[in-house]
């Protein structure tokens, strides 16, 4: 009979190890980021980044991630204007 408590501890340990490895690749700028579809890791790499593809293939293919190629993430502009007083409104949309 499977000891569910031990199984859950193992699953949490495995998820922690996967997160640690993904975090390292993120900090080394190999991947743009990562997230989760349930317990399946989703990895974002730059489009046509052969180095990132190779790292994913050689180092973390065993965790069977979903790999999505995309361009870099940017904060989108919001078209509000702000000012410190009614006569000091900015003439441009605020960008970030």
């Amino acid at each position: 009979m499977v000891n569910l408590s031990s199984f859950n501890v193992y699953r949490k340990y495995k998820a922690w190890r996967v997160s640690r490895r993904l975090n390292r690749l993120f900090k080394e700028n190999v991947i743009l980021g990562y997230g989760w579809q349930g317990t399946t890791p989703v990895i974002f790499i730059k489009s046509n980044d052969s180095k990132a593809r190779e790292v994913v293939r050689s180092q973390i293919s065993f965790i069977q991630p979903i790999v999505i190629e995309t361009d870099e993430f940017k904060a989108l502009s919001g078209f509000f204007s702000t000012g410190k007083g009614k006569d000091q409104l900015s003439q441009e949309p605020q960008h970030a």
Binding site: G35, T70, A75, G78, T82, H95
Partner: protein, 184 residues
């Protein structure tokens, strides 16, 4: 709209009210913006509380605005009954957004608990605990509300994206960091 139980606030993205150094550019909010034809007679509110975007790591990019005009709590173009609850977001969930540029767009949640590097005008930041959806937003849509299509629960707000995906700030974190709930 949001409430802390005492007052009601508008919610927008923090990067909409900062300058190039990611510091607050002013305290009055004009809508429509000057670019969209607004002027000093179109002040709709005052900044109440914002995420500090000068930090290198972010979990929100959000501002509460104290309205100075009457505000309809319904979301423009959405024929959905809002529940006033934060959604439990799961991959595959169908969502709908109403933005300044895109209007009403639908999408699908692709990943949760996302950590990505994102470019702001003052440099790159690490955005944690975000949500990624299929592309449903464009320039000008930041801060737009994202709602669960099936339930009317509040999923979050548009922060940014790539050409193929939209990054959404997780609504539930607003309860912890801003002590507010969405208004039904």
């Amino acid at each position: 709209m949001f409430t802390d139980g005492k007052r009601k606030y508008l919610g927008i993205a923090s990067h909409c009210v900062v300058g190039g150094d990611c510091r607050l550019a002013g305290n009055l909010l004009v809508q429509p913006s000057v670019v969209d034809g607004g002027d000093k007679n179109d002040v709709i509110g005052e900044v109440y509380q914002c995420t500090d975007l000068t930090q290198p790591e972010l979990t929100t990019d959000f501002c509460l605005i104290t309205p100075k005009v009457d505000v309809d709590p319904n979301i423009l173009g959405l024929d959905l009954k809002l529940t006033g609850k934060y959604a439990d977001v799961k991959p595959g969930m169908q969502v709908v957004m109403s933005g300044r540029t895109s209007g009403v767009r639908e999408g699908t949640i692709m990943a949760t608990n996302v950590m990505v590097k994102i470019e702001y005008q003052c440099g790159y930041k690490v955005f944690k605990n975000g949500i990624l959806a299929t592309a449903l937003s464009l320039e000008g849509d930041s801060g737009a509300p994202v709602i669960a299509k099936d339930t009317g629960d509040y999923v979050g707000y548009i922060v940014g994206g790539s050409s193929t995906m939209s990054l959404i700030g997780y609504g539930k974190l607003l309860e912890k960091e801003f002590k507010v709930k969405p208004v039904a």
